[in-house]
């Protein structure tokens, strides 16, 4: 084993990249859960986003259009969930699981002719000035644009939830849907919009995997990333900024175990590959202190 082969600067830089797909999916789910909806279909929406993004990017040659396609694909799938749970009042847990199973099948079917292709390249930015700072530059300021889009989305979500009227309404709907209804807010409409935003974000996260991180399409390539995103929302106690911490922690474990595998640590590869999932469990156990939105997962039906 040769630990000296691990470059700490590269390690920290790739941590940000590894965390990005989770962060993107998690910020969407966070908004959905703040609206009182538990969508367990993140994995399904992510993988659908991954394949949609890949297909659009390959056929147009533009990764940007690919990301847009992924967001649309994820949002459409999420809308299906929204209609089932909000209009047809189905159980959110079961419907979310169905969405994941459906998304896995759908993506495999859509992507069967794209296996083995290569995604168009998505070059890193070298942010002027900041990118030239020694050590910090390569770690923080020399990434592809989506890394920053993820962080901007987190900031935007925080601003939206805590500084805008619409965000206040969204939180009210998630906290107590009966009261929100009594005050005249459109519970179902707010929730469906939130669900679609969540789907779009999950789609972006998936496309980040197929367009940047891997970058090609393989069946089932999300490998539980959507579930980890769900776990990180709980870990963050439904607070946007703590989401970043959770995602980077997870990214850190992932990158470190990959580096250790490459360095030939005397632990079997399989046990290293388990570590991100085990770390997620540990983190869930330690940090289940946050208070979930009051109406999370409950079915809303406006009776008399």
């Amino acid at each position: 084993m040769d630990l000296s082969s691990i470059n700490p600067i590269l390690l920290l830089a790739s941590l940000m990249v590894a965390a990005t797909p989770i962060l993107l999916a998690a910020i969407g789910e966070l908004v959905v859960e703040r609206a009182g909806v538990l969508n367990l279909g993140v994995e399904g929406m992510m993988i659908t986003g991954a394949v949609c993004g890949f297909m659009v990017a390959v056929s147009t040659g533009s990764p940007w259009l690919g990301f847009i396609g992924a967001a649309v694909g994820g949002a459409i799938l999420a809308l299906l969930f929204g209609i089932l749970t909000q209009v047809l009042l189905s159980n959110q847990v079961a419907t979310g699981l169905a969405l994941t199973l459906f998304g896995l099948g759908l993506s495999a079917l859509m992507g069967q002719n794209y296996i083995g292709m290569k995604a168009p390249s998505f070059p890193d930015w070298h942010i002027p000035l900041f990118g030239d700072i020694p050590i910090i530059g390569p770690i923080v300021f020399q990434h592809d644009p989506m890394v920053y889009v993820g962080l901007i989305l987190v900031a935007a979500a925080w601003w939206f939830l805590h500084k805008t009227r619409a965000g206040l309404v969204l939180r009210a709907v998630g906290e107590n849907h009966d009261a929100a209804h009594a005050l005249g807010y459109k519970v179902v409409r707010v929730r469906i919009l939130a669900i679609m935003f969540g789907g779009a974000c999950a789609g972006l996260g998936g496309a980040y995997l197929s367009l940047v991180r891997v970058p090609q399409w393989t069946e089932g390539m999300t490998a539980g990333a959507g579930w980890i995103a769900l776990a990180i929302v709980v870990f963050a106690g439904w607070k946007p900024w703590r989401l970043v911490l959770g995602a980077y922690l997870f990214g850190g474990v992932t990158v470190l175990q990959l580096n250790l595998q490459a360095a030939g640590l005397a632990i079997p590869v399989e046990y290293l590959s388990m570590s991100p999932y085990l770390a997620t469990i540990v983190v869930l156990v330690i940090m289940s202190a946050g208070r979930a939105p009051g109406s999370l997962g409950r079915i809303f039906h406006a009776s008399r």
Binding site: L40, L80, L84, L88, L89, S90, N91, V93, A94, T95, L97, A98, L101, F102, G103, L104, G105, L106, S107, A108, L109, Q112, V188, E219, A223, G224, W227, I228, L230, A231, V234, P268, E270, Y271, S273, M274, Y277, L278, T280, I281, L284, V285, S288, H301, A302, S303
Partner: protein
């Protein structure tokens, strides 16, 4: 404007009709999907749903129905207890894998001894393995309030890595010339889960599945424990008032589903699959979730739903080889089935009214 009105009591007629309606809708939309893929929809639907039962090769497919259906029913019965009690174990796939590893481990440890006791021991080890794996989310939920959905699911990925490590390392066949995978248990008579009647597909797992259905039916409809399970799901607060200990309920429900999933894994690895290999698991643990809901969490319903789902597996394989239908289309069809079921489920509890005016 369409309005929903809650029924004073759930409609019994719709409770039976909705699964059938969901199947019909799935056939309809599935047919459209197949047409989009350039296949003849009628022929494809017939191949998937009827050929396994009635074609000239049905003598080969019908036993397969039992082989594929048994693990689905066994796992789904276990899951139905938890789902009814509001405990969401969705990591049955992991418990299935760990059960198979533990059971196979016992079998391999005795190799090549000839002892009738070995197979029963393996079954017990499989059940214990599955239970212990399910106890991890159970104990974390009870002790720390950790979400059991996420933990049980994370453990599926852990179990898959564990399986890989077993197939490539610890349990690799020493006489296997370096190929991954364990010794073939199906060729080791004391450990094999062989067909009880040749050519029938009937193995011990099928027997266990039928016993589980009967046991679950009696427990849920007659026994006080079944009543407490239903109380916990429909009114957690009322359940505590009625004397249910919620923590104990969580552990018991997870224990039952873990034990049954673990046994299903053992029956599979000692029979149809034969050996511990990297990919001996084919997602029964996830499909069983569909089976449980499709059967409306009712034991008899689960039995029928397990049969139906096995049918789509086998029919899908036929359609794959005869018509060139992509394998993923079958997965999609199964997902669709669950979607439609959840969508039409509304009819059981609500009446739909068409009227004008009054925004909701």
């Amino acid at each position: 404007m369409i309005q929903l009105e809650k029924r004073p009591e759930p409609s019994r007629a719709w409770a039976f009709a909705t699964p059938l309606l969901a199947v019909l809708l799935t056939m309809l939309f599935g047919g459209m999907l197949f047409a989009l893929l350039g296949k003849n929809p009628v022929e494809t639907i017939r191949t998937i749903f009827l050929d396994p039962l009635f074609s000239e090769f049905a003598w080969y497919y019908r036993p397969q129905l039992l082989v594929k259906g048994a693990p689905l029913v066994l796992i789904a019965i276990g899951l139905s207890f938890g789902f009814r009690a509001g405990i969401w174990n969705i990591g049955a796939e992991g418990q299935y894998i760990v059960g198979a590893i533990c059971g196979a481990g016992v079998g391999l440890a005795f190799y090549p001894m000839d002892l009738r006791l070995i197979f029963p021991l393996m079954v017990i080890a499989g059940a214990i393995g599955g239970t212990l794996w399910a106890m991890i989310p159970g104990l974390l939920r009870v002790k720390f309030g950790t979400n059991e959905i996420l933990v049980s699911l994370m453990l599926v990925y852990v179990a898959e890595q564990l399986l890989a490590s077993m197939a490539l390392g610890t349990m690799r066949n020493p006489d296997g010339m370096g190929f991954p995978g364990s010794r073939n248990l199906a060729q080791y008579p004391s450990a094999a889960n062989l067909e009880l009647i040749a050519g029938s597909g009937m193995h011990w797992g099928v027997v266990a599945a039928f016993i589980a259905v009967i046991f679950a039916y009696i427990t849920l409809s007659r026994h006080i424990f079944g009543f407490q399970v239903r109380l916990s799901g429909q009114g957690p607060r009322a359940a505590v008032f009625a004397g249910v200990n919620p923590n104990r309920m969580i552990l018991i429900c997870l224990g039952i589903s873990g034990a049954l999933a673990g046994m299903a894994g053992l029956f599979e690895v000692a029979g149809p699959a034969g050996q511990i290999s990297i990919d001996f698991n084919v997602g029964y643990g996830f499909t069983a979730i569909i089976v449980a809901f499709l059967g409306r969490l009712h034991p008899i319903g689960i039995l029928l739903a397990g049969g139906l789902m096995a049918l789509t597996y086998i029919g899908g394989e036929i359609a794959q080889s005869n018509l060139g239908l992509p394998g993923a289309a079958i997965q999609l069809l199964q997902g669709m089935l669950l979607f439609f079921l959840l969508a039409v489920d509304l009819l059981t509890n609500y009446r739909i009214k068409f009227k004008t005016g009054e925004a909701v």
